[in-house]
Symmetry: C2
Subunit: 144 residues, 2 copies
């Protein structure tokens, strides 16, 4: 297992926590020099708040852990491609890397805009994509 897969698995653990609360199963972790400094999972229903996405909470948590608002030197792992709001937040945070699992052709930022991130941020998709996507499919199948 690569380091990216290992951290994505932690993000998947967070996604499972969302699923347990009947929330859209998306999870995220922020890693800084091999250490998890922030975690989050989607809580929009529980908190009655459209801004309570996994990435937003992981960013806020990481900033609190590190004591600074910029997350340079960090990588954020998220199970599904970020939406426009989260991509914008990741842009502000100036992370080194954003690694996502499954693409999101409907709500993912790439359908709206090309370059939301800081110019130094490297973006990669497709890590454990099948597993991340399967969790989403299962959730929405049960909602129909």
């Amino acid at each position: 297992m690569t380091d990216d897969e290992r951290y994505m698995r932690l993000a998947l653990d967070e996604a499972h926590r969302a699923l347990e609360r009947d929330e859209v199963p998306i999870g995220a972790v922020v890693v800084c020099r091999g250490r998890v400094v922030g975690r989050g999972h989607n809580l929009t229903e529980t908190l009655t708040d459209v801004t309570a996405h996994a990435e937003m909470q992981a960013i806020t948590a990481a900033s609190e852990t590190l004591g600074g608002k910029y997350l340079t030197g960090c990588t954020l792992y998220v199970t599904v491609e970020p939406c426009l709001m989260c991509a914008g937040a990741l842009g502000w945070s100036q992370l080194d890397r954003v690694v996502y699992g499954a693409p999101d052709d409907k709500r993912g930022y790439h359908t709206y805009c090309a370059a939301p991130y800081h110019k130094r941020t490297v973006v990669e998709g497709g890590v454990l994509a099948a597993e991340c996507a399967a969790l989403m499919k299962e959730f929405f199948k049960n909602k129909r």
Copy 2:
């Protein structure tokens, strides 16, 4: 004074609160049927959190007041054109209207993407624009 100007003046009051804390002076209010249901001003430095923009806090506050995560029937007033993150959040919240004061050619969403909002959301800019812009100019002049 029009209703839009009156509510933008409340958003300007919020912006002044940010300025008092030496924060980038941007303020926002959410109005629902003539009633202010959410307020917020930029607190990114105070909270050490890039996600703590005025709009994000006003959305969260309005959802709490109204007891629902969607803000249909509401208008958000913000002194400066929303960034990509906030535009994405406003998109999720499904507001009826977004009214902003001064345009932001550097960080405003329009430089990154054309249509971040819900298809029903009406967007207007330029309300008390000079006053909103003057506050920003004053802040950044003192930072140099």
